[in-house]
Amino acid sequence: MAQKSLAMRRKRRDFWMGLAFAFPFIAGFLFLTVIPFFQSLYFSFTEYDIFTEAKWVGLDNYTRIFQDENFYKALSNTFFMAFIAVPVSITVSLLIALLLNMKVKGIAFYRTVYYLPTVIPGVASSLLWLWILNPEMGILNTALRAVGLPDPAWLSDPAFTKPSLIIMGLFGTGGGALIYLAALQGIPREFYEAASIDGANAWHKFKCIVLPALSPVTLFQLIMGLIGAFQIFTEAFILSQDNLGGPDQSMLFYAVYLYNEAFVNLNMGYASALAWVLFVIVMLITLVIFKSSLRWVYYGGE
């Protein structure tokens, strides 16, 4: 009996202790996530400019979104980055990881070099690329002209603004490569040896051992990359020079449009509705990918 009440006391004590230690997160979650989450849902049904009282407008903001040309522009630009730029950069980061997995001297040095561009601040690298991609004086076009290749106007030509961003993004693939590399090094050697005995060549080993073994990491990178595409802001904001998306609004991405509506035009209600549409889209994409992942992701434990 005494034993039992002691255990009960211990349990109760642990509960309050656990709660107390988790308190900073719980408070932050409540005040910076839960309450704002519902407030933003409420604002999405209002017209609100901060200075005057929010006015209830029902579904008006949502119907307006679906007739808003800028919304479709921002959405298709963002989808382009999510479904083209993200797979490209994941593929490149896998290739780099394979290179960095070679057993040669000084490989740690190469790892450092490939990771270095990812620590350059977004504003600094955007300004740098603004200079590198300058159509007349930039080093890239100077080099292209020198070898007789076409020299696109990069950031002033709507057809080349997104390729510019993709090229810029490739220099950040060292981060993804390191995550892949850690997973590559976790593949047991016996797998390769067994495959060699069965007469598998390098391509077979890559297809049947490496890709499945890396698939959980690919899932992680894919989801993070897609979510990241909806957050593209700093590069687009600086490279477009007018924060309206640059030439032909080709760099008007979702986060940029939302920022403009909220903090430049002070359409807090409309921007909240945009945020909720974004939320639903991101949730749907994540759900679809998780569902499909049951078919292509292999977990070692199973």
């Binding site: 107390a20 230690f21 988790a22 704002p36 450092t112 600094a124 300004l127 220099f171 700093t234 807090m268």
Partner: protein, 296 residues
């Protein structure tokens, strides 16, 4: 004589081997280095170009064809960049924000992680699930109401909105520390508990000292994150005496766009701390990267 033929034979035999060894060396050593170093040069190029551009004169930077190496390195560009904009002020502001955010994360994140990893209580698996969920929640969903709350409190154009969040602990850091703490043997805290040590004492005297590696990584991540942040300061800081380097550089570019050498010099100074910190804390970066892959 017999000896010499024997030696001739023994030389002749490995000659074929020598050739195959040379081929082997070419394929397994030279080729990888060739590929790795040429691609490495491509990866380093933007950074190198940043440094080279920052040392050119205004005339040389627009010269055609461009020079690779600055003819007369203009170290004075760095001084001029500091004079052209209140760069030291921006630096102090940014450093201040970094310091406060690091302190906040180093206090709060370990406390919460301890509750999730070392205290057996009912709510912990829910809190853990919430932490994972908040990592996926797009920040835009809460950004506007949070801004409105801060605006109503009169905190816009102060550092409070850019620092207070750190004292609640970020989901990612809590997650990282929780994974790390799960690896610390239970017996350590359990023994102290039996001896009647309070939970706070166990945390500070036993667990906290073991967290040096992940806490260093978190300090580095926080520093780099705050140092590089653009959108936060852009939304909350109007007064240019409060600006961070990110905002200051962007502001300078939109006003004096053509002064590339000064802009590059300032951007180089802005980049230097993150590169240095990366070199110093490299091992921690790698460890934290490896810890992330255990996210299944």
């Amino acid at each position: 004589m017999g000896f010499s033929t024997a030696s001739a034979k023994s030389v002749a035999l490995p000659a074929g081997k020598e050739r195959s060894r040379r081929w082997f060396r070419l394929k397994k050593v030279l080729l990888p280095h060739l590929v790795l170093s040429s691609l490495g040069l491509v990866f380093l190029f933007p950074f190198i170009w940043l440094l080279l551009s920052s040392l050119k004169t205004p005339a040389e930077i627009f010269q055609f064809p461009p020079t690779i190496w600055p003819k007369d390195p203009q170290w004075g560009n760095f001084v001029r960049a500091f004079e052209a904009m209140p760069f030291s002020r921006y630096t102090m502001n940014t450093l201040f924000l970094c310091a406060v955010n690091i302190i906040g994360q180093l206090i709060s994140a370990p406390l919460v992680a301890y509750s999730l990893a070392k205290i057996e209580w009912k709510g912990r698996k829910y809190i853990f699930a919430i932490i994972i969920a908040t990592m996926i929640l797009p920040p835009q969903v809460t950004m506007i109401p949070v801004y409105i709350i801060y605006a109503q409190l009169g905190w816009v154009n102060t550092y409070l909105p850019l620092t207070i969040g750190a004292f609640f602990g970020s989901s990612f850091n809590i997650f990282l520390l929780r994974q790390f703490m799960m690896g610390i043997p239970r017996e350590l805290s359990e023994a102290a508990r039996i001896d009647g040590a309070s939970e706070l004492r166990i945390f500070f005297q036993i667990i906290y000292p073991l967290l040096k590696a992940p806490l260093t990584a978190i300090a580095i991540f926080t520093f780099v994150g705050v140092w590089n942040d653009f959108m936060g300061p852009l939304i909350y800081l109007n007064d240019d005496s409060l600006w961070t380097i990110s905002l200051g550089l962007q502001g300078f570019q939109s006003e004096h766009g053509a002064q590339w050498e000064l802009l590059m010099a300032a951007a180089a100074v802005f980049t230097l701390p993150t590169v240095l910190i990366y070199f110093i804390g490299q091992k921690k970066f790698m460890e934290a990267g490896a810890a992330m892959t255990s996210f299944k």
